[in-house]
Symmetry: C2
Subunit: 195 residues, 2 copies
DNA sequence: ACCCTCCCGTGTACGGCGTACACTAACCGT
DNA sequence: ACGGTTAGTGTACGCCGTACACGGGAGGGT
């Protein structure tokens, strides 16, 4: 194996490196999904024996971590001249592309049941509540998606600190409430019926 | 194997069922982490041969999906008498517990690099921007955690629809901005210095 | 010119994984 | 009594991550 260059060209296409490995891993991940990347397949793509990779990374986890780190490296820096909301918005849009994009496909990492069957019952309840609160047919699902994204993301990033979860949830609900047409803020008469 | 009951007691402790399998899987997951649950280990815990599980579930993914679905089943129903914010809050708090709790440990499913090294650079930029926007030393990290949770969650739940991501992000920023002490809303003079 | 050392990639091997497939022992309604 | 159905048994295959011992070639000190 690895016999293509024979002996001339001491370091050109041949010769591994962290960078070459990461590049190949990202490419393989983009094509087949990151979860299909195995040390053996990756090694084969590099025309090398699997154990060669271990010269450059402690284990598969370390390699995968490096792939993720690489992907988030080229998240755009914020432009300090812009208003803060715009800076944050740019940062996060860019981060979302990196995370959900072809190279990582974050969604594929976790049990798919999270996103469909299990979520249905929740969604039923939630959409009813939001509808009664005054969200229209177009806004209610978006609002729900927003709330669920926050919740799933928070659970994934770390369980600790209920208070932090509450903080963000309240800010989010504030923002959603402010987007409601008019109506009085939080009273309990809007519970049933549709005028 | 499975020789403990021998022949009497046609169906007591012995005899598999979807429920018994899910129970054992959840228990095993709570103890060692869901990612360590394998068909073989699960079968062993049930004192049965691995292939027996396939009478009840198409494959491992289906089984894991069912575990997740089961965990989300006992998310509390909202109390229709409460204000809508309270209903949503309860729903999501409960959901977060189910997702991040012992049985699932959602965070362990995805590459850990997401949460520490890769995120550091982002966090540096973001905390600076938030600090300059007027968030205090206590609020800025919470605000950032909220924003990142939303972004990660959205990326995990599905890549599609930029517009949906924008919708939620704007609501969230609205809520965060409203929590700012006083100051004028979005101008660009607050960029440097600390009065 | 020599050897020695170090580095990098090669092989081999092991234990664990998911699961396809063929089988058997017990149970059932007739 | 008996054929069919069902639940669990074994065996086997191909994949996985990786521990470990090895060889061969490049580079430097003498």
């Amino acid at each position: 194996m690895a016999g293509s260059t024979d002996k001339r060209e001491p370091d050109r296409g041949a010769g591994l490196s962290r960078e070459r490995i990461l590049e190949a891993a990202a490419q393989l991940g983009a094509r087949d999904g990151l979860e299909k990347v195995s040390m053996r397949r990756l090694a084969q793509a590099l025309d090398v024996w699997p154990m060669a990779l271990y010269r450059y990374f402690d284990d598969k986890d370390a390699l995968l971590d490096a792939v993720v780190a690489r992907a988030t490296d080229d998240v755009a820096r914020p432009d300090p001249a812009a208003p803060w909301r715009e800076q944050i918005r740019g940062l996060l849009s860019s981060a979302r592309e990196a995370l959900g994009g072809d190279a990582l496909r974050l969604g594929a990492q976790l049990p798919r049941a999270l996103l469909t069957p299990g979520a249905v019952r929740l969604a039923d309840d939630a959409l009813r509540v939001l509808g009664e609160a005054g969200f229209g047919a177009r806004e209610a699902p978006r609002a729900w998606r927003t709330l669920l994204s926050y919740t799933v993301g928070f659970a994934a990033v770390g369980t600790e600190r209920d208070a932090d979860f509450e903080y963000g949830l309240q800010r989010l609900l504030d923002g959603l409430e402010a987007s409601l047409p008019a109506r009085s803020s939080g009273r309990r008469e809007a519970v049933r019926g549709r005028p």
